[in-house]
């Protein structure tokens, strides 16, 4: 069965690139561009992995992540994306329950590899681009 990946980002061009990459790997994708709609989308779409941008309108990625984990969605993998590269951000991400953390601009190959690895059940730490 095809894996499902939920893409949460509000930059259309970045979304386009992610869609292509995930599509190329054969995953089913759904795009959400607003932090408030993520929860509903997760319920509906039941993704296996979420590509979650931090800078979202109205609600930032950390809050969304926290909300998801608190809402009982422990199994879905969450990979956070952000343009801020500070150490503190990474630690914060992991603290709210993300499984991995990638800074932009990312390497496409790496991103794909990380996604695959997470979907295969691996546990990873944080690596930079």
């Amino acid at each position: 069965m095809a894996r499902r990946v939920l893409i949460v980002d509000d930059e259309p061009n970045i979304v386009a690139s992610l869609e292509f990459l995930m599509g190329q790997q054969g995953y089913d994708t759904l795009v959400v561009d607003d932090g408030d709609e993520v929860l509903a989308a997760v319920e509906r779409f039941r993704p296996d992995l979420i590509l979650l941008d931090v800078m979202l309108p109205r609600r930032d990625g950390f809050e969304v992540c926290q909300q998801l984990r608190a809402g009982g969605h422990d199994t879905v993998k969450i990979l956070m994306l952000t343009a801020k590269g500070r150490e503190s951000e990474a630690a914060k991400g992991l603290a709210v329950g993300a499984d991995a953390y990638v800074t932009k601009p990312f390497s496409t190959r790496e991103l794909v590899a990380r996604v695959a690895s997470l979907l295969a059940g691996g546990v990873e730490g944080v690596e930079g681009p």
Binding site: E11, N13, S17, L21, P57, T82, F106, T108, R109
Partner: protein, 1019 residues
């Protein structure tokens, strides 16, 4: 109906009321809940200045000299409004040193000179007796007039009733009784008499009300108001003359009268008593400084109207003008009002007599009688007799000490003074009401050089004060007292006409040929000349004793120390505690002595209580009277009541001075102060000196001690100042630190935000580049699309970088500005041309409403273009999707040039109107607006072409193209050029972005203008 009995009964009832009030106040005072410790009561008690002279005499004087009655009230107004600090100083000094009378003050200041105190007392008594007789005369006359109702009479027609029938005598005796009852209840160390003060304050109210009552009646009842009255008055030339500052009194007389009253309001014994001695809290003086003048103003408002009314009604010669106040109501048949007026006058007289006699009694007992007795006693002791003292001093030994003797002396004095006043009235009081009072004023004015000099002139010496006062008094007596006695027939009148022994130069009313002045001015000129002259010359020529130096410093610097500071101690010596105890026993009685020691120890115990001096100074309402035992809070320790073993324990704890120990300086000072309350400072000093072996301080040592004290003060002031400065500096530093941290934080924010913004387009660029690389066999359309994205994002990145740099340069002031004259219409047209593509690409319309040649503005043309393009790009992006339209309008309003760019888009919500001007912020979704491309809604952004970017690029999706910096930069640019940029919008009604620019010829706010070619370096 106004028979003798009625009037007498009403008067008696009124005096009974006074008694009741005084009694009530005293009871409350004993219970610790004083009614007089209020600044209102204080100010009212000061109004005892207004006696029957004010009540009757002002009108009389106004009737003859018009506004010439004013100086008497101008003086006190000036003194209190301007010189209340003097009064505060006096009060503070008196409190510190337990000075309880005018004589005591003079004596204390000049080296505790008993002689000076005695002289002051004598002058006071002699000077005030005529004034007292004045009051009695007023009472007697007005009583008779009232009695004769409805027949009116002038005072001249009033004979003197035989003594037995003279109301004045009975009133006098009654008042003496009142004064004795409420002024000499007991010896109070602070010499305050709360009951008396309460009664006096009440009387001030009564006389004010009564006078206002008759004033209102006359002005509005008998006539038609002020206007009517003065019109009628002006019709009569004699009366009309009263309205002017008639030169008949002479400006010199005016000046002297004002000066006299300025001094008298402080130096009359009764005024000193209520203002200084009875003062509860020196802070009350501040309020009194305007309340008391206000009272004087109010009570004098109707004087002139009543005088005019009287003259109109009675003509100038039938009725004595002094009695207009009474005669007018009587003439109109208003019996009740006339009675009220009489009571008012009675009130004025009685208040004066009561307070004056009590004040005089204190002075006589403390400064005249007791010193004589005590000196007799101590001299005998020094001669080697046993400590039992002499027969003089046995009087009063026992539980009440010498207090009984002092009280007896005072009571006798009161009666004697009152009788003297009555006697003077019967024998010599023929002059009009006013001059007698002025004679008294002139007498007490003789105190002024010594008292005021003592407060402000260090060089004033005892010998000088004695010389001045004696000389001034003599001149006063000769120029004022002698003529009035001569006129009354007690001295040959040839004295006045030809001078003593026929020497015309020494005529009492024109000494040394100085004629043409009225008697008062004449007397004042000479007496002040002699007084001040003697004071100054003798002071300068005598050397001062160390004691005098000490006193001088304490007095003059009193206000510079905090209110509770103790005086600097300037005494060295040794005394045995037993001796001091015996002193207290003898003069305060065993009860009083015990309490006095108890108070001393109460301030010395292990509990942290303020030291004794502070204690003494703090007890404003609680009098620490050694003789009576009030039920107020006490901090004393009553040794005899402690159980025996506790006593020993207490001894150790409290360091009770044992009998054979040497007394600490503190104790000696305490004893002296306590005794001063009972017998006056001079006598207290004498008494203490008699048991103490004093080591006289040399002048150098005194100076050294004083120097040290003042140095300490100076250092502590310096310390306070520095500490305040330090606090201020710290606060400033903290604020600066906060600001810096804030800036730092903002910088961090900025950096991180910029980083984020830069990375976002980079992400797309990298991602798609890698995708294209890894997928060489992508379909052409897809490949094309992705490459387009790469290119667009690159452009976006470039724009962003340029704008960030631009903004940074503008803000740091390193941007180049080329301000010149710009034709606004032309530049708008240019911008429109460049931006046409933005509109045509979208199918939107751009309209210009600009004049042919626009207003010339002072601006940098490139920057103006930049702003216009930004606004146009926004307008294009956000105008309505189907029928987009933007309008640009240029006009001049309010002295500046203004450009409006309007679009018919969805508008900007109110809460977004500030947000869009923030950096990297783009407005949140506007409802219903879907921009082309992308799934995201667009927010209004600041995207647009940068100055160096040339032609505008296509916007690919509102948000994606926007950088969030366009509007902030535009605003920054406009503001730097001296204008404003703002938005006006409501959701659904489009948005109008407007900016203003200064017209050419008005340079923008100062600093922005740069000459062409120069690089800007602006703040």
């Amino acid at each position: 109906m106004l028979t003798t009995w009625v009037i007498a009964a009403v008067s008696a009832a009124y005096l009974g009321l006074l008694f009741a009030i005084a009694r009530y106040a005293d009871r409350r005072a004993d219970a610790g809940r004083s009614v007089v410790s209020s600044s209102w009561v204080y100010a009212l008690s000061l109004a005892v200045y207004a006696t029957s002279w004010t009540y009757y005499g002002s009108v009389g004087r106004a009737a003859s000299t018009g506004v010439g009655f004013l100086p008497i009230y101008l003086g006190p107004t000036l003194t209190f409004a301007l010189g209340w600090l003097v009064l505060r100083k006096i009060i503070r000094v008196s409190r510190q040193r337990r000075i309880t009378s005018l004589a005591d003050f003079a004596s204390a200041r000049y080296g505790n000179s008993a002689l000076l105190g005695a002289l002051v007392t004598i002058v006071a008594v002699v000077g005030v007796v005529p004034y007292i007789s004045l009051q009695l005369k007023a009472v007697s006359n007005t009583f008779t007039i009232l009695l004769r109702y409805p027949e009116l009479a002038s005072s001249a027609q009033l004979g003197r009733p035989p003594v037995v029938q003279d109301t004045a005598l009975y009133v006098a005796l009654l008042l003496a009784v009142f004064a004795i009852l409420f002024g000499t209840r007991h010896l109070d160390a602070s010499e305050r008499h709360e009951g008396m003060v309460a009664a006096v304050a009440f009387e001030s109210i009564v006389k004010l009300v009564a006078f206002l009552g008759v004033g209102v009646f006359v002005t509005f009842g008998a006539f038609g108001g002020f206007g009517d009255l003065f019109e009628k008055g002006a019709a009569d030339p004699e009366i009309a003359a009263l309205f002017t500052l008639a030169p008949q009194t002479g400006y010199g007389a005016w000046m002297w009268l004002t000066v006299l009253s300025m001094l008298a309001v402080l130096l009359l014994p009764r005024q000193w008593q209520v203002a200084v001695v009875e003062n509860v809290d020196e802070r009350h003086v501040a309020r009194a400084s305007w309340l008391f003048p206000l009272y004087l103003l109010v009570i004098n408002v109707f004087v002139l109207p009543v005088a005019v009314a009287g003259l109109l009604r009675f003509g100038p010669n039938t009725v004595d003008p002094d009695t207009f106040v009474l005669a007018l109501p009587m003439a109109q048949g208003q019996q009740a009002l006339a009675l009220v007026v009489f009571i008012g006058g009675l009130s004025a007289s009685t208040a004066m007599i009561i307070v004056e006699t009590v004040a005089l009694a204190t002075m006589v007992s403390n400064s005249l009688v007791l010193p004589v007795l005590l000196r007799g006693g101590t001299r005998h002791r020094r001669a080697g007799q046993p400590r039992g003292g002499t027969r003089y001093l046995r009087v009063g030994a026992g539980p009440r000490g010498v207090g009984g003797l002092a009280l007896a002396v005072r009571r006798v004095t009161i009666v004697a003074v009152v009788l003297l006043g009555y006697g003077y009235f019967r024998l010599a009081g023929g002059a009009s009401l006013v001059s007698l009072g002025l004679v008294s004023f002139a007498a007490v004015a003789q105190f002024a050089p010594a008292i005021l000099g003592g407060l402000y002139w260090r060089e004033g010496s005892r010998a000088g004060a004695l010389a001045g006062l004696a000389g001034g008094f003599s001149v006063w007596a000769y120029t004022l007292l002698v003529p009035s006695l001569a006129r009354a027939g007690w001295l040959p009148t040839s004295l006045i006409e030809d001078g003593p022994l026929g020497i015309t130069l020494l005529r009492p009313e024109s000494l040394f040929g100085l004629s043409g002045l009225d008697p008062i001015s004449h007397a004042m000129v000479w007496s002040m000349l002699v007084n001040v002259g003697a004071y100054v010359t003798v002071s300068l020529r005598t050397r001062r004793t160390p004691a005098e130096y000490a006193q001088a410093a304490t007095f003059i610097d009193a206000l510079r120390q905090p209110a509770h500071a103790a005086g600097t101690r300037l005494w060295r010596g040794s005394a045995r505690v037993a001796d001091l105890r015996e002193l207290l026993d003898r003069y305060l009685g065993t009860d009083g002595a015990r309490e006095a020691m108890g108070r001393y120890l109460g301030g010395r115990g292990p509990v942290p209580v303020p030291n004794d001096d502070q204690l003494a100074a703090d007890e404003q309402t609680a009098a620490d009277d050694p003789v009576r035992l009030p039920k107020r809070e006490q901090t004393s320790v009553d040794l005899d009541r402690l159980p025996k073993d506790d006593q020993h324990a207490a001894d150790d704890l409290v360091r009770v001075p044992k009998d054979d120990q040497l007394a600490a300086d503190d104790l000696v000072h305490h004893v002296e102060r306590v005794l001063a309350g009972a017998v006056g400072t001079a006598s207290a000093r004498v008494l203490v000196a008699s048991v103490v072996h004093e080591e006289p301080l040399g002048v150098d040592e005194v100076i050294q001690i004083l120097d040290e004290a003042s140095q300490v003060r100076a250092y502590s002031r310096e310390l306070e100042r520095k500490s305040a400065e330090l606090e201020a500096a710290t606060a400033e530093l903290r604020a600066a630190n906060d600001r810096l941290r804030e800036l730092d934080r903002m910088k961090d924010d900025f950096v991180s935000t910029v980083t984020h913004e830069l990375r976002t387009p980079l992400t797309s660029i990298r991602a798609f580049s890698e995708i294209l690389l890894d997928n060489p066999d992508l379909e052409a359309p897809e490949r094309g699309r992705y490459l387009e994205i790469v290119v667009a994002e690159t452009a976006r990145l470039t724009r962003l970088i340029n704008q960030v740099l631009d903004l940074a340069k503008i803000e740091s002031g390193t941007a180049e500005w080329h301000i010149g004259e710009v034709d606004l219409a032309e530049i708008v047209r240019d911008a429109a041309a460049e931006g046409t593509q933005l509109f045509t690409g979208k199918g939107a319309e751009l309209r210009l409403r600009v004049p042919a040649t626009g207003p010339a503005v002072a601006a940098d043309p490139d920057r103006v273009m930049q702003v216009l393009l930004n606004l146009l790009a926004n307008a294009a992006t956000f105008s309505d999707a189907r029928h987009g339209r933007a309008v640009v309008q240029v006009r001049v309003t309010g002295g500046v040039a203004r450009v409006d760019v309007h679009d018919n888009g969805p508008g900007v919500a109110a809460d977004q109107q500030q947000v869009i001007f923030e950096r990297f912020r783009q407005g949140s979704r506007a409802t219903g607006d879907r921009a082309t491309g992308g799934t995201s809604d667009s927010g209004r952004s600041g995207g647009g072409t940068a100055h160096s970017g040339g032609a505008g690029g296509r916007a690919v999706g509102g948000r994606a193209a926007g950088t969030g910096l366009g509007l902030p930069i535009s605003r920054e640019i406009i503001e730097r050029m001296g204008g404003r940029l703002w938005v006006t919008s409501a959701p659904g009604e489009g948005a109008t972005f407007s900016f203003t620019l200064p017209l050419a010829g008005h340079s923008p706010a100062g600093t922005h203008y740069q000459a062409p070619g120069e690089s800007g370096a602006e703040g």
